[in-house]
Amino acid sequence: MNQILKRGAPARSGRRSFVARHKEALSGLAFIAPAAGFLIIVMGYPIVYLVLHSFNKENFANPDAGATFIGLGNYASLLQNHEFWQSTRTTALIVVFAVALEFLLGLLLALLLQRVLAGRRVLIALMLIPSMMMPIAVGLMWRYMLDDTYGMVSYYLSRLGLTGTDGLVKGSILGTSHSALAAIVVTDVWEWTPFMALILLAGLQSLPTDPFEAAAVDGASLWQEFRHVTMPLLRPAVTVALLIRIADAMRILDIVFSMTNGGPANATQTTQLYTYRTGFEQFNIGLAFAQVVLVVSATIVVCALIFRQVAGDRVAR
């Protein structure tokens, strides 16, 4: 960070014009301006709108009529709202379990791929499939496989005794709260583990070879090498992979929509689904906006914390 500030600081010179002094910054901003302007107008305006209207009591079905300013009223009622906390908890659980599993499995797959003797290109091509698939269709696909009556996976699980009267899940998989949540995590893990693996593989392949040679000379075991050489060097790639996946998982909607639609009894209703329903089905626009403000603030804080890590890693190198 310091480095950038120093380099960015223009040399003081009284005679040179403002433009000449700030040529570097102005040229850079000129290239950035069209995109920045576009984003500020298209996203900034809705954001200002929703923040202002989060203090109102308003009906979505009839936005022009009856907007009453109620101050922090929506926020207060949100904090006492069971559904709000439940959706927050559900989303947090999905983020934690899905991203952790994706990271562990992705790392394993990346380490395997790095040592693969043949067919790496084919494997990488095939690995692209899940992440390129339409998430809403992925949800549908898993819903079918987990279907009570016709599902292929349900069938094998019950044959293995994991479901059914004596199994872990007594009822249907998508009809029981815990297993429905687990099913969503599994689906997310299925879709995004290969993506995680590809980023980590690229990280592994870009590492310098010297530290590994040194570790080999010192007679380090494979585990020691992994623990003390690979992991510390891989940190920047890990942070970026986690940043992308955590931000994505925090706004999970599509898979949930087509797999469980939030059920059973709101057990799998995520924050995004709650926003949609409060705003578009219950027409309680002020409450929906207040919830969006809280969720987006949380997203920004989490992303900023991780981004600082990423930026720090970059400057360090």
Binding site: S27, I32, L111, L117, M133, M134, G203, P236, A311
Partner: protein, 277 residues
């Protein structure tokens, strides 16, 4: 030494087997979806699951020619292409600005771009709906394109930045000594040298837009309905025609996978450049 070589070799084969097993397992749902799409209703319902059977294209015929999914395909294509054009233009300019110039607050502005990619779509979609009502833009292609272009532009900026980093500054500088302007050097040299990256980024933008559900759910209407919303609204009561639904699923993902395969090399590079550089 030979034992070390031998054990490395054995580890290599173990890793190969492990990687193929993991990827193979990953593909089981995809294979099953393809198979179900090629089954009759009765075959799709029968348990234990049939992995080998006589395939039929009836489901695809029904979906594409009787249920009118062709229209959704066309809408999705129009929006995806529009989004890609906007995002590539704005994104590559911005990426160049971030990559080639150093100034105070650069990192902060870049974080703003990242946020544009990371803010939940539904957060923007609800107020955008109300604004679109006022502007009479609801159910128009332009609205969907503009909204999709937000996250696509942010992503394109992130990805193109890594590709511009690969273009040597010296080539641009020598062009500028020969009288080219900054913009000229960007258009004629950097953009041309980063062309493969541009293609990979374009494919990502196409796929993002094609797959988007939240914006389309809230902002598309009868006229502009895109594929994801049509897919998401398929009812699934007991005894439902899973073969047809899986055929729709296949129609939805085949274009993205085909595109991904065609530019596979650059796609993976772009994705991971952005991540590690």
């Amino acid at each position: 030494m030979t034992t070390l070589v031998r054990s490395r070799r054995r580890a290599g084969w173990l890793a190969t087997t492990g990687a193929f097993a993991m990827v193979g397992l990953l593909l089981v749902p995809v294979v099953w979806t393809l198979e179900t799409a090629l089954k009759t209703k009765v075959q799709a319902w029968s348990l234990p699951p049939h992995w080998i059977f006589a395939p039929t294209l009836a489901n695809f015929h029904k979906v594409l020619f009787e249920q009118g999914f062709g229209r959704y395909l066309r809408n999705s294509a129009v929006v995806a292409i529009g989004t890609t054009i906007v995002a590539l233009t704005l994104g590559s300019l911005a990426a160049y600005g971030f990559e080639r110039f150093r100034f105070r607050g650069r990192q902060g502005v870049f974080f703003g771009f990242l946020l544009a990619y990371m803010i939940p779509e539904m957060a923007i979609a609800l107020p955008a709906y109300l604004l679109a009502v006022q502007l009479h833009l609801l159910d128009s292609y332009i609205l969907l394109i503009v909204m999709h272009a937000t996250f696509a532009t942010a992503f394109a900026t992130w990805m193109m930045r890594a590709f511009f980093k690969e273009v040597p500054r010296e080539i641009e500088e020598s062009a500028m000594t020969d009288g080219a302007t900054r913009l000229g050097a960007f258009l004629r040299i950097s953009l041309r040298l980063a062309a493969p990256g541009l293609v990979a980024t374009a494919v990502f933008c196409l796929i993002f837009s094609w797959n988007d559900f939240p914006y389309a759910l809230v902002l598309a209407g009868l006229k502009t309905q895109t594929l994801p919303v049509a897919v998401g609204s398929l009812k699934t009561p007991a005894g439902t025609a899973w073969g047809g639904i899986m055929a729709v699923t296949v129609v939805a993902f085949v274009p993205t996978v085909v595109f991904a395969f065609i530019v596979q090399k650059w796609l993976v590079r772009g994705l991971t450049f952005g991540a590690v550089k």
